[in-house]
Symmetry: D2
Subunit: 371 residues, 4 copies
């Protein structure tokens, strides 16, 4: 009704670009957004790709010139879902043009670029968001709230894993994720695990890394091309709180498609989660009576906001795209000035600092503080 119109620009129409468009469609129905939404312009690498994407996803216009989105007068907010080597230039341009920016993770190939992006956001004093969407899961938020409220007492130890197997087959060709700058599983998936770790347990003080390249070359045009980035990356973490943890990121974890897991042990309880069953959280409380203690399986329901926006009955389950819709809705609240951005560029740069600290630690074989 009286809501202002928000004209959305999207750069990139691949996996994540599509997910953003889906998320807008869902968010518009499910939430009481502060804006009327118009999917205004979609940019992609070629005019054809842009046109096809715009048609499929319902954008009014398309362009092969990303600046037409980042700096266009007919665009109010910008979503960047291109390969991460391109994030900085596009996002900074959009910010300098006065537009809030949502950028997919990892924020940038290097900490230096990520910091430039965060600085641009601060200069522009505009809301930004990085797409660490697993943190939008109501069950992960329940975990965070319980930890914060002391339900499991002071946290002592934890484990974080993000393991998939889409690179397990050595015949998967060399791609941008194998680029020595910004590539590797640590950046791609480890960033998710690191984001979850700090989301739940606060700042990491130092890390000890172990990054391993397992598949030394991959097919490419013109013959095999060497791979130097990590296929599995591990780290020990020491939090400022004193808690300690381990972390693993792998894209060669045969048989795993989405093992974004954590297990957290506190003085008075424990919490377990796996993204493989993303609508469940497992909670253990030492205060339960002797002989009746055990991890309880809590199923997502209206008691876990914003689940109830999607469905009034418990147990019906959210999917991946629903988490993305929650993320978008949060971004729009920030754009409207109704709430702080959940995961602004400054935090994205922080994750990049952790990624580089793990990599540096692994290379040097010593405990390292994030820069």
């Amino acid at each position: 009704m009286g809501k202002p119109l928000l004209r959305v620009g999207l750069i990139g129409s691949g996996f994540m670009g599509r997910a953003h468009a889906f998320a807008y469609a869902t968010a518009e129905k499910v939430f009481d957004l502060p804006f009327r939404i118009r999917l205004a312009v979609l940019a992609d690498a070629t005019p054809e790709a842009a046109r096809a994407g715009a048609e499929a996803l319902g954008f009014d216009a398309s362009t092969a010139d990303w600046r037409a989105v980042a700096e266009g007068e007919d665009v109010d907010v910008v979503h960047v879902t291109t390969p991460n080597a391109l994030h900085a230039e596009m996002a900074i341009a959009a910010l300098e043009a006065g537009k809030p920016v949502h950028c997919e993770k990892p924020l940038a190939p290097t900490l230096a670029e990520a910091v430039r992006m965060a600085e641009a956001a601060e200069r522009a004093a505009l809301p930004t968001q990085v797409g660490f969407n697993y943190l939008c899961n109501p069950m992960v938020r329940l975990a965070a709230r319980m930890i914060e409220d002391g339900a499991i007492g002071a946290v002592r130890t934890a484990r974080f894993v993000h393991a998939e197997d889409y690179m397990a087959d050595a015949s998967v060709p060399w791609g941008f994720r194998h680029d020595p700058v910004g590539g590797g599983v640590l950046a791609d998936l480890g960033s998710h695990a690191l984001a979850t770790a700090e989301f739940l347990l606060g700042r990491v003080g130092r890390v000890l890394g172990d990054c391993v390249t397992v598949i030394a070359e991959r097919p490419a045009e013109g013959g095999p091309r060497p791979v130097v980035v990590d296929d599995v990356a591990r780290a020990f973490l020491r939090f400022v709180s004193g808690a300690s943890a381990s972390l693993e990121a792998s894209w060669i974890a045969t048989g795993r498609t989405m093992q974004h897991d954590f297990e957290i042990h506190g003085e008075r309880g424990a919490i377990r989660f796996t993204q493989e069953r993303l609508n469940e959280l497992h909670l253990y409380l030492t205060r339960d009576p002797d002989g009746l203690r055990g991890f309880r399986r809590i199923e997502a329901g209206p008691a876990h906001p914003p689940y109830g926006r999607f469905c009034v009955a418990p147990g019906h389950q959210l999917g991946f795209n629903d988490l993305k819709a929650i993320e978008i809705a949060g971004f729009l609240d920030a754009v409207a000035g109704q709430a702080p951005a959940a995961f602004p560029f400054s935090r994205g740069a922080r994750i990049q600092a952790l990624v580089e600290a793990v990599a540096r630690s692994s290379a040097m074989g010593v405990w390292t503080e994030p820069g």
Copy 2:
């Protein structure tokens, strides 16, 4: 582009009405629908409810006169999501006005009404659909395909359950689901289990029922009101194929929020599923080597259409609203004449025949054939 416009009318804006609106928004992005969609008119019981619903869900117009939807010139297809006592009149009016109809389950309070609806659909020669959305799950469809292909051999035995606990608390007040005509858990949830049973194993030849009222009265205005409908309904099933099965529907299954489960035993394998983990199917094959046999947990992915429309990577998971979007997309394919309707009114009437057969069998205490 050149796609025709489809103007959608919705009657009812409760839980299911909202789900239909969500589903359209998702389906439009995710699928290559045969139509451009306009959410045209929403009808609800009062002008205020209708207006609020239309605004929240993005309909162009609202009305308190359901006939303005069912018979309106500016509506191409009609969705009926009102309490089931109202389905027949609304759906038949819409069919007689020449509009394809999607109606929530159960189709009608009585078989007689359901048959009238199916006859109206046949007379009108229009596509219809009943909202048995669990059948739209790619994993349930995988189960059906495997059974049909003989992967587990001839099916011998099975179990079907649909158990929730939203009526377990005796203080839940008397409502329309407790109406002696068309009420009870057998109609509400048993219909889901029966639909799944016939979807997977073909026609049921006879049933032996056991329907039990557990909570004999419920709070109502003016004091407690007696309940005569079933809180738990069970049945033995004999399929035309020779297979036998058990079935249970319960809305007092304390601790269960969405236990739509099945387990099917064939000569050469078995299949298990639970809606509590709706992105998984468990498959057992006797042909696996001795010592290495076991139920394998298959996670939903692009190999299970139309999962890939939602996400190109496996393991990311669909949610309840995604299943609803699949259902809507199928309906629209039928409306466009591109595919038969997956679950037309005739099948909805069939389910109602099974519901009544179970109830009648329970009352008489004898094996009964569906009418």
Copy 3:
């Protein structure tokens, strides 16, 4: 030290005979039994089988004359683990010779024989025990105690299953379990499920059965032999308490090796168990806070007697043979007059009455009271 000697006689050295001998060895170490144990005499069908069994299992003597065990002066208690057609004669002889008897389940092929056995036990005023060993599981006993204490409120509904697949292959030859008298899965496995049902929920008032022969003939010497006993048996149960339940027994449940499961829904909670994970019990309590409710997985430990006799630390797990040792220890307590027998012949006869009621109900197609 001053403990009296107990000379044990065993008739039958097959699967269950071996399990009894194992159980004595374990029980002697694990428990503070009221007796010193001597495995005195083992009888089997032939002198050779008896001698081999005695040697393997550590019995002092062997015989092909079962009466030498049942009536022998050098035997104090008798264990009967022969095919169930032989139970009555052997057990009654032993009782008449003044010996407490432990007999494997099912107690006898017919209720009439089972009643004769129970009467003989009563006449002899001697302790007897039937081998429903799943009831000896500390976690099943925890379930029973919680139900009795009202932890989940009044029980409303339940499901009981005992499903395996050792007869799923149609090439398994005809054997004594296929004997029209006393054979079938209802007697073999359904008796376990029925024993568990009454153990947890008290007396069953009436049943409605559905017994199905699926594999109509099996290989035998001289050619295929017809099978008339049930391969799957189902029943609805109505308990005297008012609770209702379903029950299934199957030996053709492809993929299942030991699915002795139950799920019980009460007014204020629920309990779930599967023998597939026999060291766990799942408990749901409605009094847990909103948003934090869920089935909690309780792992067996010293808080669940007599687990602590086997291991002082939780989580180490008991196995099938340990359950058998608990059963034997209970029997010996009864023999010593220190406790009532947990599952005397009278209860074994009761289970047989239920078995026959289900079979009769299935044959007649009507609700039936156990005789």
Copy 4:
């Protein structure tokens, strides 16, 4: 019959001493052992404890002088289950007296002592065994065999965990496990995880450790006593094969009672196991058809030797004490010269070398090779 007699001596009658006695009782029945067994002499710290233990566990004689067992003429094999600071002196004495020795894990508080023990075993040319009993699980052996046979291809990555919570409560008093020499969770539980790691994946070439003391003091007589040993110990492992892994040992993992887990990713498959469900192994094979891949849950059965010795039917489950019986039976085969010892002192010393390497690495913060 003609089997030689074996007179067993046991030093220590605590948790593990009892388990050894239970294991002999079971092993004697379940296996066809190469000896007749007599539990001859039990030694404990005081005459009273020894006498009580001997009576409870069925030993012929008792003594407060451990040398009477280690060096006694009436003892053929010696079991050492005392606190690990005492292992070396006792075991070496027994070996020097010509007796095969079974010693509980960890072998000794220091590598130096463990090496002395291994050298004594070699000098004596007698069979020895260290009690890493999880390796006796048929499902763990199945995992080892599959890896060896190449069923999952070359192993790339793995995770090993052994987590319990028996020290999670800060009020658990200071005990011998907190002794700066030989104490800590790395020695106590990490040794199990390390043993499993090398059992499955071969020799570890280097480690990077992270050992953390979480609870800095514990109650003791006379007031709180500082704790310097680790409560959680983690390591990255690099195997000689090239595979890499992470490992965690914790005794403060609130909610976990027996999480001895591993997950192994190979080129063509993966294997998962948790001791919490010790009768299951989960196997993933990439060669399964697209859309039908998934971890299959293999349940223990006669196809997994020596399960069939315990039970002829699958799914009945082994318990912790059964694993101990398998371990004892293997030791006796070694004593009889029928098979090599599965886990001799030399391998126990090797585990101790790994333990110390992890501790040293943690203290120095650098990758370290086991000494």
